[in-house]
Every structure is written in C-alpha cells, then in structure tokens.
Symmetry: D3
Subunit: 234 residues, 6 copies
Amino acid sequence: MRNVVVTDHPRADAADAGTLGEHGVATVHEALGRVGYLGPTFRPAWPGARIGGTAVTVLCWPGDNLMIHVAVEQCRPGDVLVVATNSPSSDGLFGELFATALAHRGVRGVVLGCGVRDVAELREMGFPAWSTAVSAQGSVKATAGAVNVPVVLGGQVVHPGDVVVADDDGVLVVPRDDVPRALTAAQARIDKEAASRAAFQAGELGLDRYGLRDRLGEFGISYVSHDEYVRGTE
Amino acid sequence: MRNVVVTDHPRADAADAGTLGEHGVATVHEALGRVGYLGPTFRPAWPGARIGGTAVTVLCWPGDNLMIHVAVEQCRPGDVLVVATNSPSSDGLFGELFATALAHRGVRGVVLGCGVRDVAELREMGFPAWSTAVSAQGSVKATAGAVNVPVVLGGQVVHPGDVVVADDDGVLVVPRDDVPRALTAAQARIDKEAASRAAFQAGELGLDRYGLRDRLGEFGISYVSHDEYVRGTE
Amino acid sequence: MRNVVVTDHPRADAADAGTLGEHGVATVHEALGRVGYLGPTFRPAWPGARIGGTAVTVLCWPGDNLMIHVAVEQCRPGDVLVVATNSPSSDGLFGELFATALAHRGVRGVVLGCGVRDVAELREMGFPAWSTAVSAQGSVKATAGAVNVPVVLGGQVVHPGDVVVADDDGVLVVPRDDVPRALTAAQARIDKEAASRAAFQAGELGLDRYGLRDRLGEFGISYVSHDEYVRGTE
Amino acid sequence: MRNVVVTDHPRADAADAGTLGEHGVATVHEALGRVGYLGPTFRPAWPGARIGGTAVTVLCWPGDNLMIHVAVEQCRPGDVLVVATNSPSSDGLFGELFATALAHRGVRGVVLGCGVRDVAELREMGFPAWSTAVSAQGSVKATAGAVNVPVVLGGQVVHPGDVVVADDDGVLVVPRDDVPRALTAAQARIDKEAASRAAFQAGELGLDRYGLRDRLGEFGISYVSHDEYVRGTE
Amino acid sequence: MRNVVVTDHPRADAADAGTLGEHGVATVHEALGRVGYLGPTFRPAWPGARIGGTAVTVLCWPGDNLMIHVAVEQCRPGDVLVVATNSPSSDGLFGELFATALAHRGVRGVVLGCGVRDVAELREMGFPAWSTAVSAQGSVKATAGAVNVPVVLGGQVVHPGDVVVADDDGVLVVPRDDVPRALTAAQARIDKEAASRAAFQAGELGLDRYGLRDRLGEFGISYVSHDEYVRGTE
Amino acid sequence: MRNVVVTDHPRADAADAGTLGEHGVATVHEALGRVGYLGPTFRPAWPGARIGGTAVTVLCWPGDNLMIHVAVEQCRPGDVLVVATNSPSSDGLFGELFATALAHRGVRGVVLGCGVRDVAELREMGFPAWSTAVSAQGSVKATAGAVNVPVVLGGQVVHPGDVVVADDDGVLVVPRDDVPRALTAAQARIDKEAASRAAFQAGELGLDRYGLRDRLGEFGISYVSHDEYVRGTE
C-alpha cells in the first residue's frame, strides 16, 4: 500500500491558506503555540516570496523525480507541492519545467526536502520554492514512491490538504483541522504585536510591557555595576 | 613534481566556453548525461552571475594563497580561475584585489573550494565568484602548491583548459574533449525543453509527454481515493 | 555570580566604531594581524549592511530570550547587541519587535550565535542582523542568563564595550583597547590597498609587487611547460 | 492540549518487541518495505547493544529535561524511552542517574534526538542508549513539554506504544499495528538471507541468484575490456 | 606580540587536576554551574580514557604543526597539551611521535581543535587524545603561532595553567582560580548523586526526590488518559 | 560509454598492496608527499582493521546497489571494493551478505562514499569496511552505473587497480604507478620514524632533532616570561 497515488483528498480552504500566508511563518507559528515549523534547513531559492497554500505531498526515492510527474496531475489552484525523499538527498529534483507546469495549474509554490535547480529561472518566473539545498544534479525516473500520503519534513508531519505557509523565515505546516484556530489566534497576535510595536517605537521596554521586571529576582537575576563585577572576578 | 607551475596548457575555445555558460549549469549537466556537477556546496558570492570559461587550476595549502599570486600570471582572457586546497579549509583566500588583477586580464570569474571575501566589493565590481564559504579569514604566503595540475573539487576532476560553467545553480566542469559534444547536446536539450515548456504552458502533463502514464503499472503504482486510503490505514 | 546584569560598562568610542565599520571586516581583520574574525558561520540576514558599534553582550539559555529583554534596557546609541547561547541552538531568539525597540535606542544592529527571524521585516526596516541560522522557532522566557559579561562567539571572546564590525563578509570583534591601533593600521592598509588596486588595474602582478617572484625557488616552485609535464606523468 | 502527560496508552507486546530487537534494525527495516528508519544521525553510545521495546515518548524543550523526570513514572518493563526536543539541540538531557531509575523499572534503553552523557557509566551499567550527540552539557527543569504524544525523530513519527528496535546500525520504529506483519516478514527475510548467505559462501553470485544477469542489457549496462575502454576514452 | 612563546606560567595543582579528572566531565561541569564544556564536537580518539591535567596551550596555523614542536619543550608532568588552529581545520596535526615525546615528559593527554592521527598507535600506547576530527592529513612547519597564550576551543577560553578534564563525554576547562571551588562542589555533587543513585535503585522517582511533583501544575502540565487524549485530538 | 563494466584491468601487485597496508595510512601518506588521503569523513565501521589491497571501483546511483552486485563478479583475491555514488547519499548500500560474497572471493575490505550497514555482523565476521555513514537504509536495484571506471572519493581519484590502504586513520589511495616509490619511501620513513621514536623516548626534542630551534627567529617567534606577557597585555 506504499506505492500509491491518493486522489481527491480534502483540502483546507485556499483563501484561508492565503490569509495565513500573508500573516507569515513566525506569526502563525507563535499563534499556534510554537509548533509546526520545519526548521532552519529549509531556505527560499530567492528572497521575498510569501505564500500560503494547501499541501499536495510527494514521496520520492533519492535521485528520482518520477513521482513529481505523477503529482502534478493531482494539483489544483491554491495548492503547494511538498516533496520528501525517503532518505537524505540533495539532488535537484525540481526545476523550471515543473514550475511551468505547476504555474499553469495555479499552484502557489513548492517545498522540497532535497535540492532545487534552475534558481535563476524560478526567480525570473516569480515561482516560489523552498528547499534544503540548491543542486543542478539531475534525476532518473526509475523507482516508485507515493503521492498524497503523509510525509515528514523537518521534523513535522505534513498531511495532504494541510496548509503550508512559507516566507523568508522558512516553512510552517498548519494541520487542516487547526486552520480556524490559526486564523483567529494569528489575528489576535497581529493585533497584539501592532500594539507592542507602537509601544516599543515610543520607547517602552519589553521588561515592563511583559511584566518581567518584577520577576527578575525570582529568576535569580541581579544587577551589578561594571566596577563591582570586575572586582568580583579579579 | 608537485610544486610546479605548468605553462601553456591547451584550452578549450573561449567562445565555446562562453556559449556553454549561456546555456547554464543544469542544461549542460543534463546534456552530458548528468556528469560534472560540483555539487550543492559551491554557492555564488552574489546572485545572478552566469559564466563559462576555461580553467586555470590552482592547488593551495590551507590558509595560504601564495599560489594564487603565481597563477594570476598564467591567466588569459576567457579563463576562469579554479582554486582547490589540499585539505578542507574555509579561509578566504580570494578577494577584491585578486579580482581586480584578474579582471584586467580578462578572466571571467573564480571558483574556490574554500572561502571568498570582499563579497560586497565583488558584487559592486560585477566579478563572479563561487565558493564553499564566505570568510574574511586572511592567509599567509608560506607554502608552495601547484598551478595547472589536475585538481579535484566537489567530487569532480578539473583539468587546466577544461570548460567551467557556473550560475546560480552552482558549478559544472566540462572536459575539454567533451566540449563539441556538450555544445551539440545542450542545443538539442534547449530545443527539447522549449517544446516541453510550451506544452506545459498549454497544460500538457509530463505524465503524458514523457510516456510515463502507461508505465505506472509496471512501476507498481496504483491509484486510490482518499476515502479508500483512509479506510485501508485505519 | 553568573545570573548577573552588569551595568555602566566602559565602551569604545561610538564614532571610532563607526569608522571601523566603514572600513569593513576584511580590512580591519588584516590590519590587526588576522585576529578577531567570528568565522564563516555568521551570515547577514540580508545583503549590503555594513556597521560598526560597541558591544552589549547577552548570554541566553537555548530556546529562551528572557535576557534579551533585560539587555535592551542596557543599550545606548552606537551599540550592537551580541547574543550567545550557552549551548548550540538555532532557535530564532530575535525578530522585528526587538529590532523596533533597539532602533528606538539607536542600536546599530545585532549579532546572534543562534537564529534570527522576521528576516523580511528586518530587511524592510533596514535593521542589520548577522546570525548562524534563520529560524522562526519561537522561544520562552523561563531561565536566567547574563548581560554584559564576556561571551564567546565563533571562537572569539567578545567583551562588553568592544567594537563589533560586520558586513557581507561576516563579523569581527576588536577589543576596546585595540581600537586606536585598529584605526591607524586600517587606514594604512586602506592606503596600501588603494595603491595595489591602481597597480593591478594597470596590469602589475602581485608576484612582482609583493616581491614573490624572486622567492619562488626558495619555496621549491618550478615552472614546466604542459608538454613536459604530460610527458613526466605518463 | 500540548503540555500533557498521557497515561495508560496501549503498547505492542513486549515479547514481540524483544523478538524484533533480536532480528535487528536492517532486517526488520527491509522486511517492512524499507520504512521506519531514523537515519544515520542516531548512533549508539557504546557498541554492541541490541534491543527491542515499546516506546514511551517525551517531548522536551531544548536544554531542559523536566519532562524526562515526568516520563520515568510512566515507564514499565519492556519499554524504551524515546526523547525528542522541539527544536534542534545537542545538550545531554540524559545520563547515568536516569538510566539507574529506568533500569529499576525494567526499561530496555533510551533513544534521544539530542545528547546523552555519562557514556562511560552507561557502558559499564550495560544500559543501551542511542542519540544524535554525546554531550555533557547539563539542563534545567523550567519549561513544560509532553509525555506519550506522537513525536518525530529522524524523519519518522513515533507513537507511544510503537516498537523501537535499535542496534549498531541505528534505530527503527515499527508502528504498533504493523508488529504482526513485521514478525512474519522479518522471519521470512531471515530465512531467505540464511539461504543467500549459504549460497554466497559457496560462491554463487547475486547477479545470478537475484536474476539480474539477464536484465543487464535492459538496464543499458555493457561490458568492455580495459584495453577497449582506455582506447575509447583517449 | 602574537608570535610568542610564554614561559613559566602558573599552573593549577597537578594533583588537584588529577582529582577533577577522576570526578569526570559531567560531574565537574554540573558542580561549577554548567560552564566550561567544549561541546559535543570534541570526541576521544579511543574510548575509556579519563584524565585531568594542567593546560599548555598552542595556537597553530591550519595545516601547520610548527608550534606543537615548540610547545613540547614547555610541557611538564601533569600537563595536558591543548591545541587550537586560528581558522577551521581538520588536518591531523598530532600523532604517535608527538605522543611519545609528551609521554616522556609526563604529559597526561592532548586536546585538539583539529585532527589527530595514528589513532591505533595512540590506543596501543594508552595515550589519551580528544579532537574534532581523525585525519591522517600531514602538516608543514612554515608559519609561526603562539604557545601559552589564551586560546578558544569549543566556545570556551582556555588559559595556560587551567585544568582540563576529559573523558568519554568530551572535554571541560576549569579556570585555575576555580579549582578549589570545583573540588568542593564536585565532591558535594558526588555525595548527592550517590544518595540519588541509591534512591533510584530503590525505586524512588526524581519527580518526588527533586520536589517536582507539586510544581507540575505551576508548569501547566496536566495528566490525561490515552482514551481521553485520543478523543480530544480526533 | 558510462553504463559500462570494465573487465580485466591491470592491478598493482597484491603483495605490495598488503605491505603498504601494514605500513598504514599516515606513514604512506607522508611518504608520498602528503597526497592521496580521502579525508576525515571516511571512518571504519569497527576499530582495529588495517588493510591494503587493489581497487575494484563501482559507481552507483544514490539509494541503488545494482552495480555492487555486478562488481562482485569482477573481484579477485587481494582486491578492495571501492564504491562511490554519483550524488551525495548516506544510504547503506553494503552489508553482511555482500561481505560474505566478497570474503569468499578473497576481497580484503570495502570503502564506501555512502553508508554501510550490518555493522555488528561485519565486526563479528572481521570484514573491514570504511564509509562516510552508518545507515540501515535499504536500496533498490533500478538504475545503471559503472564498474572499474575512475571514481572520485574524498577529493581523490581512484582508478581500478590502484592500491587502497585503510586503517583507523581513514583511507588512502596510491596510484598503481606510484606503488614502487611508495614502498621505498614508506620504508625510509618507517626507519626515520623509528629513530625519532627512540630519540623522543630518550628525551630529545623535535625542536632540536628537526633543526627548528635555530629557525625560530626567522619565523618571527620570540620567548617571553608569563610575567612579562601579562604586563604587556594589561
């Protein structure tokens, strides 16, 4: 039951996904309780892209992009293609021709737990891509994998239909059932951050704003002048 | 016979090298049968450069750029300087002053299996550089190495006079004798990719275009609806 | 005596720090005798920034940014915030809200031996940041650390009040007492490099300019034509 | 619902887990269709241990082992403690005192997606441990996490009660529901490998035994003598 | 003042250093408040060694062991040789011949922030070595460095005369002035750990022994049965 | 001409290879002028093995061990199997069954630029293996590669028939034509090292033995007492 293409999976709402994309990775990550982040190894192929979409997942053999060809057909407008390999690989399984096919289908971007190539062309096309490597290393089409089964990338499980948010900070997955909560919590956080931003611009300190000053003693933190400190360590 | 400077080596044609550079790393790599790529650890110092030139090779002791000084004199218009260290090192053996000297000689860029520095200045000069690290760490001039002997970088052997192609996808070496074949095969691939691009823009699928759909059964790949899949894994 | 906030430490002159920042990492590093560089793992969050300022140091528990909140209050115009964690961590301890608070206080940038987040926002704000990772991973405020004690980053000791220089080549620390010497030596190097640059633009070789040609024999380096070399290795 | 300790989870049979442990990681991994392996970054603290047990899972904040203290109480004979941190960390969250407490409870070993310490003592005790680092770096008890929720380690999801198999080749997870199939398939593989081993000891070739020789043409593989090959590449 | 050999530095007491060595890295690290550990990249060349000694420090150019030759003469019985390179290098600067010379002088071991070689011979000699790499790559003797100046290894400053403790958990530095405190605190910790060990062997839980059970609510940790948890996440 | 099996390649003498194996990696590496070492990423699967043999080379697709099956047939007594993948991979392409087949043919060991598995079984069999990873991850047999073409591993070119030397320090390649020189130079080095060892055991210093003491001034190295040094840096 592994070499399977799962069709017609339920998807989170594409508009909701887009809204979470606008909110951005760091905000939604915090709003959800600091979960779902794929970690610092996923980097954008070019800076400035910011997307949210619904995952179509692919599991490939290393050095083999057969299943990406299969997956393209399963993609719909609002999707994000999410590619995992079943063992560590940096090979460039995805490039400009795939991006062309996906752009035609309204796909918003790609996330790869391996390499991407044609970086200059992707930047010119404006097709967003995140990956763990940039590599021109080409691939074969020789070994089966799966489409739209749960995959693990960056320590997170991505189910088909989950929301994927990505920007210059990396990639976040929001489980489909958590989208309503994410929308609400992210908006609350945005409001709170706007207030904090205004306060910090006016010179307030986080120490005071977050009620930390009174707790410093409890944390065991004390203040000492530089002169005293130097005397104490001599 | 190691601490040697080899002079007057044969070079691939500089115009051919330039043509391969325009074709780009991924295209030429595929055209040649997926060989010659230096892998994902070689990254451009600044984005957007795309070059092809003929290799002048340098072998340095780690932390020592003596042989780059020696190599400059061997460079001619159309060359690319290719620097290896004989053990792993990230030190910045190359910077803006070397780039100034090489630009004067018509050299098209530099590839370093170690660090580069003066990244901002190189970007402003428009002098292309690829390296495995960015590092300001300076070097001495104390230990001999070699110029224009074969060197190994990123798992590939680079002979002096070989063509080096580099862009945002990394670096590729094309052996001098393979240049004619590379030119022909790359042009064929470009034509084929143009046709595929047009087809994908019109909505054709790679599954059909590459004749993969009929072979899915042979690969052991089957389709199942999401409902069936969920029932099967419960 | 570890969970301490040291106040009123002496600082290098902010204008001197700014001057060293304009000179740049590679130049000051060389001028001081190739010391003080934090190595290739510290990278800018966005390209093109170039700063010099005086260090306010922070030591955090991994995944915990409590002490950055404490440190903000200790920052003055001309400072650079320097954050270390007491064990390896890539978590994004610093983002746009902190940058807002620091910008209000005239802080020139931040250097983090861990992750940074809100990269797009920092780029838009023009707030410079260098770090060993980009990560949206959020943090708690649960464990005490220290402010303005010496910290080690990238193999270098940073004392509060030291000058921190950072640009696209990475980050350099100049001990407070070495600032006068750094200013003099950097200016001398800049003058020397200007002369070398002009010479290289006019076609002089480093081999001649640096008196290396006469020493090649002493280094054991010999010249051989390609034909001779090939015969010798056959 | 994240800072939760889940009690009384169902477990795979401890004897079955032990049997899979005897079969070893590589054999069970192959038998299940090459799934479930945590990858090459998980290494034994000392060589020669070989275990199978049922997972008690722990999710810790980096640098904080509070939840391991909580988890010990949930452990029963036949269990294996499985510890993840919610962002990358190498800190040594586990050492000899924990091992003493777990040994008392009949726990068979520990798997850590972070550091282990007291390696010499663990080896002397014969308490098996696998981890992604060896580190003496100590931890605090300041931030909550979870016990017996699903965790991701090495690209695999580990549910509490799953079977964990570990030996010198690393660590494998077998989902609880797959244990019967794993037992059957592993035994079949062992029998098949025994026959192959005997055949190879007698000089048979894999080319023949696995029916590969007749397919070499289909793979595009041809044979050429060294002399011909050298002439072809000259 | 950098290419200097500093003679006749004060040393911690060699017997005290030996006592701390017997206590081991993890214990002394905890006793001192979790400071001084060189991190998980320093590994023993062979398992089972456990030493404490006083540091003789060496700063080498990468790929160059000239200064180790200079440093040997400065070593006395009870010392540990501590070698840093001034930029990242894995070259094997130290091997069996150096070990022979150091053993003659009563040196207890070596710690290298680069490579070690002759691993089999060191194991046979019983000469302890810790390093960040094993590498046979040989070195030149061409560039000056320093002996007995402070060096940074693994994020820690090592001053000549400090105590270095090393075992299978890695390497720890104890500043010379902290040795009396380290001896007292380590003994206290050993006593405390012995009591904890006995308690754990008798079945007591850390939750109770460390007073954590009553604080779980304060941490926000709650207990839930597996059945309830599954219902809550469905 | 890439998917080719080259037969009947010339080999270095197996007895000579064995002699170089007894001399060991570090000695032969130095004797040849510090060339041919595959670097610190190649580690033995178990400690204590020491071999020399003649290379049979294999080039595999990542995650695919088809060509190892093909290569076994080409192996003769005295050979060492040398496996490269054409892009970075850690998968365990080689295990106990292959070792059984190779042992039957008199093969002395295996070197893999990827993963090895069945580490415990290889140790029990006494079959030596060096690799860049330990991984149980299994492989397919789907894509062609080559046997007995030159491969690049660890920055070195290995030609079929070259001598491969491996021990606890890693792996070295000696080109077939260099074997006579290697034998002579290694013996000379062994004699020289024996004399140095005896001298060091008797207390002589490398400073004197290698004539370095008189050159310290030329290197710019000066001696200063600790008291003077401290005054100079205050």
